[in-house]
Point group: C2
Chain length 375, copies 2
């Protein structure tokens, strides 16, 4: 057998509790994947990432192909060994970052030619090359190369963009070498147009993938449109394959995605916030730089098992952030990843117990209550 074993063990409404079996281990879903752009989840040792409960991380093809290079990582035994992360890895296709290189790239039906932000050298990224790079990285989950349709786009533009992505998806499928525990995910595009989303989902199903991602959302269309489009898209996807909402998001967006039936998420938010003094808590985001934390001896969250909360006060974290200390980024990143993983564990338990509605209500109550008041 090739691809993944994916089993849904419980459903609660449209939400699903499942497990995805990859070559490098099992991923309990719904899952949040910390982003490890350049072969490191920033400011975290890989063992610490695992200690937060994360089972799978995301690597960025664009960054890795430029530095240290896919062939070098292959010679060094693949990305897992290179970065000492023995668990599952999903890699993106590189397309999203390349398309963002305004003025430095040229896209045709064949693929994209672009200039490296590292050294100015020219590179080709085609569907075939993207799949090859991800194979060299030894990625468990390969993503097809697509165009993340810019927002806003009129119907005709969105349709043309999506249809090219579907032709690329087919080329990726042909280029992908099927192996047990390794899989290829298609990506639904179509901007905010339900008919295009359905057309895209149908095209991908016809090709056949090991999982289906929803791309091109949370790019400026507004939260209501994001979730309306997501809702319409998920209805067109097969039940027996994992569904991945790309690049989302805030805790409340992840909860909303899980309720609609999403199985996998990734976002730079917890790690990036950790480097910019923002902590995520049950009471919402906390700006630890704020003067009110200056003499607060309490932890960020009383019941959190991360080292920032077990070993340090808000006052100390406040000091570290004010002083620009690396340890501040280390501790807040760890806390944020821990918060996200605790949220996912809570969602999985709630779905398994048929108590998702109560979980979501309590999540919203705590979030709207805000941060714990000063002592």
């Amino acid at each position: 057998m090739t691809g993944f074993a994916f089993a849904v063990s419980a459903v609660d409404g449209r939400a699903r509790r499942g497990s995805l079996e990859t070559a490098h281990g099992i991923v309990d879903t719904p899952a949040f994947m910390p982003v490890g752009t350049a072969a490191t989840v920033k400011a975290m040792m890989p063992g610490s990432v695992a200690a937060t409960g994360a089972q799978i991380i995301l690597g960025n093809t664009y960054h890795l192909m430029l530095r240290p290079g896919a062939e070098r990582i292959d010679r060094l035994g693949g990305l897992h060994r290179f970065m000492n992360w023995p668990g599952p890895i999903l890699t993106d296709s590189g397309g999203f970052q390349v398309m963002s290189l305004t003025g430095l790239r040229k896209m045709t039906e064949d693929g994209v030619v672009f200039r490296s932000h590292v050294d100015g050298s020219y590179h080709d990224l085609t569907p075939e090359r993207s799949v090859e790079i991800q194979r060299l990285l030894d990625s468990d989950v390969t993503m097809v190369l697509d165009e993340c349709t810019p927002f806003p786009a009129d119907h005709a533009t969105a349709a043309a963009s999506m249809r090219m992505s579907m032709r690329w998806a087919e080329r990726c499928r042909r280029a992908f070498v099927a192996r047990e525990g390794y899989g290829l995910f298609g990506i639904v595009q179509g901007s905010v147009y339900p008919d295009l989303r359905r057309e895209s989902a149908d095209a991908l199903r016809a090709i056949g993938f090991d999982g289906y991602a929803v791309g091109g959302l949370a790019v400026g269309e507004g939260r209501e449109a994001t979730f309306a489009t997501l809702d319409a898209t998920l209805a067109a996807l097969p039940e027996d394959k994992p569904r991945y909402l790309m690049g989302v998001g805030k805790p409340e967006d992840i909860v909303a995605g899980v309720v609609l039936g999403v199985d996998m998420f990734d976002c730079v938010l917890p790690t990036r916030s950790g480097r910019t003094a923002q902590a995520w808590t049950a009471g919402g985001p906390v700006n630890i730089r704020n003067a009110r934390h200056g003499e607060d001896t309490r932890p960020l969250e009383q019941d959190c098992p991360c080292p920032a909360c077990r070993n340090h006060s808000r006052a100390y974290l406040h000091h570290l952030v004010r002083a620009g200390e690396i340890l501040g980024a280390m501790l807040l990143t760890w806390h944020n990843l821990q918060y996200y993983q605790r949220l996912m564990a809570g969602l999985r338990t709630a779905i398994a117990g048929g108590e998702l509605a109560a979980f979501v209500a309590e999540f919203e109550r705590r979030r709207l209550q805000g941060d714990i008041p000063p002592p």
Copy 2:
């Protein structure tokens, strides 16, 4: 009893194996103190600092008095609790950093007035205030406020500077509140003039301190003059008190200092190097940014127990440093602190076994051999 219990358990030539008993624990000497300037050993969790074998760290009065402030740290339970370092802490007097503020400070017999680099506010640092700040920090080892005589200084200038420092030392001694497990160290000055160094040592002995530091060395006088002056200074200090060589240094300088009878060292070198791609090894410094490490799958040091060496290749460290990743600084800092602590442990064992000469010969052989050759 007030001050410290300091016991020398073995000598080998002039080198001493001892232990210093402080309010927050025992320090095995010769000891290297990692620098934790702003209430953090940069890029390290406090538990990780302890895991390298470090028993005592150094905090900087200048930085802490400005941010978060000595009174705030006192209200938060002292520096140990604030930064979650339960072990012994030595604090400097703030003098060295304040004197470096060219144009922003004015020194008189009373003390120094200076402007904060953080917010431009004016502050006073007198011998009495320095001792008070260090008491508010709950420092185990308080250092007297002194002037680190700039180099070069003619004999008259060096004498005047040193004699003011001796008057300040006496004011510090009067201001210091003696308690068991807490102590005050005097600092010998006198530039490179043996007669002034002896005069300074005699003045400090007459006042009486719990330990004696050698200051104003390694400030540009050259290695030969450093150790000649150190040698002359140590001869004038009491045998039954700990001796601390301030701000030194490279591994070979620490070894040379131990041979002459120094008990304590501090230096930013291992931590600062860790943030600038330089690793310290038995074969000397290694610039991990160098292209020759790009595909080297071996660890920095085969026998090192730090996570950089246990879990990662030189190739990966090279990549992290090239990509400017925080994890590069975290891993190299840990390795460097581990290297320094392993060196100190080796020196202590060698002194205890009467084998220091053989240890030093092997240390020099490995160092001059250089880094392990590429595979």
